[in-house]
Symmetry: C2
Subunit: 337 residues, 2 copies
DNA sequence: AGTCGTTGTCGAAGCGCTTCGACAAAGTAT
DNA sequence: ATACTTTGTCGAAGCGCTTCGACAACGACT
């Protein structure tokens, strides 16, 4: 391993000078800078991360806590994670991957050991047990997702309330009166993951304003589960003509089953997805959808974090505005509907 | 921040004693050990990662390099990543997430800076540009995937050759003679990702032995792409009755299109998927499949790495045996076929 | 009783870096 | 020319830990 001292000797300067060349924290004459940089090149020097962390008290690492469970939105999680990693690198940070498994202990460990300078938490529950720890430490953090109480926290998320409202508005505009929501798996609601409930709230309150009726059913992915759910929906509300699907793995089964039952999309029934664009585009009927801006979320989270680390002020809560893309799965309610 | 010295003072011992309690590298009397542990508890001490790394010359971090592109098998990648993180934690290591973006530079950076003690590389290409670097350093590494030349490297992967052969055998046994392979997107073959080619090789050579005919077509995911591909297949080989699909996002479109064309699965046509079990189970026809053991791969990679770090010998190449699970999408060729 | 391991503890050195204060050398204002 | 600032460099201290050698204290052998 090449050390700072060796570079210094090779360049004929002191160690501190090399350090200042690297950090730019003091001015260095052109000649010296060039000689040092040359030596760094020639010797193939890389600063030792541990020594740097020890001396400067910063690790240049941000921790990213991803959910352990993979019961939902895996591609979204992955996309966020990759966006976080990519953006972080652009700001000179590396990313430490933590799974939710360790829970609050991971927060304590990382905070206490100085392993990371800051944290990003995904899959935040409404009343997440990690939050008190974050509030009680001076380690900067950003949540991707929205807990019930955001005081003292910085959050980035899609505005799921507005997303729900947007879906209703689109369906209402097309003349639909009875709407069914195919939701995430029951487990997602049971652990009070915010986004699912917020979507529902936004959707319901806008529906009330516009005079639509809403029936919500959580649903596991796959054909069998969806077949059962769909049967119950049409049983209870035979006049249902609009669907909002917030569950990637229910999209295709829903389209298939509707087709099978002789209900044409979009002539008889309209379907809106809340899902990444890729899913919407690849479906058997190109899906009208509200996109989940995974990359944007990851990027914004890192930017907020970097701002905090640089001592700049940041938004408390940054909600991204939803955008609805009309494709082939929604249309005006026909007269016979 | 609580330091070792403070713990030592609180417990009435020297710093080195506390260190030895923590590491267990020298024997400590019961009484002392207990007093120290008590102090650690009371003060809420966490060893400083940077100082530890500097003094011991090991970071207890392994780097995981995931592909930046998300054009294939995203859930598999995610599952591997999570398995790596979970297993690594069990061995006391944290995981640093690197994207393929930086390419070989990331290897140099991590190796040179002592940021990580070891690396795991995913999405290895047959002639990967990162390999010379790995061979030229004494930093332990494990590849998930198989390059063309494995000398001096440790690799973990599913035995895709055997996987291809297994698919052919199953179809042959059922009486099928003409087989079509729906492959990954052309880009995957173009960058010479090993697994796709190896599947094909294994499949073709076994087919030759058994006297089956094989037609291979790369294919993007989604309905439109698959519709075109399928048309060409039946055009060229109208008698095709067996399908092997190595592309998650082609499974559902294939099943839908076959249904639409009046070809019953499995009565007229048999379909085998090479995909995670979850995909196979959630498909509209429960899919006979060879599973991609993502978790197992991640776990094994970490275990190999830890073995190397502990100075134990490891396998050069660990190929996991494929397992075929018969479900509802394959059956004997009917007399009329 | 004297010698020899053991066992448990300590002090000190050192890992490679950052950063502070000191200080020549050079430039600027008087 | 003198005093004063600015610029560029250096030496030394110190970040918190691990680890080596030293060495009391103690029981186990002759």
């Amino acid at each position: 391993m090449v050390t700072l001292a060796e570079v210094a000797q090779h360049a004929g300067v002191s160690a501190s000078t090399v350090s200042y060349v690297l950090s730019g924290k003091r001015s260095i004459s052109m000649g010296t800078r060039q000689r040092v940089e040359q030596s760094i090149q020639e010797l193939g020097y890389h600063p030792n991360a541990g020594a740097r962390a020890l001396a400067s008290n910063k690790s240049n690492i941000v921790a990213l806590m991803v959910p352990l469970r993979t019961d939902m939105y895996v591609p979204v999680m992955m996309e966020i994670a990759i966006a976080v990693a990519t953006t972080a690198r652009a700001y000179g940070y590396d990313v430490l991957l933590l799974t939710g498994e360790e829970g609050p202990d991971a927060v304590r460990r990382v905070t206490g050991s100085g392993l990371a300078d800051a944290m990003i938490l995904m899959d935040v529950e409404l009343d997440d047990e990690r939050l008190p720890l974050l509030r009680g430490t001076d380690q900067p953090s950003v949540l991707i997702g929205l807990p019930a109480d955001t005081s003292g926290l910085t959050c980035v998320d899609l505005d799921f309330g507005a997303t729900g409202a947007l879906c209703v508005e689109h369906l209402a505009m097309l003349g639909h009166r009875d709407i069914a929501v195919i939701g995430e798996a029951p487990a997602v609601y049971e652990r009070h993951t915010g986004f699912a409930e917020r979507t529902l709230d936004g959707l319901r309150s806008r529906a009330r304003e516009l005079g639509l009726r809403v029936l919500h059913r959580p649903c596991e992915g796959g054909y069998d589960a969806l077949a059962a759910t769909l049967a119950r929906i049409f049983d209870e509300r035979p006049g249902t003509t609009g669907f909002v699907v917030q569950n990637e793995s229910a999209v295709e089964p829903l389209l298939a089953l509707l087709r099978q039952q002789g209900r044409a999309v979009p002539e008889d029934v309209s379907v809106i997805g809340i899902c990444p664009d890729q899913v919407a585009v690849q479906a058997s009927v190109r899906l009208t959808s509200v996109a989940i801006p995974a990359q944007e979320m990851g990027r914004r989270a890192v930017e907020q974090l970097v701002a905090k680390l640089d001592g700049r002020d940041t938004d408390e809560v940054a909600l991204l505005a939803p955008e609805l893309t009309v494709r082939a799965s929604t249309g005006p309610l026909s007269a016979t509907g």
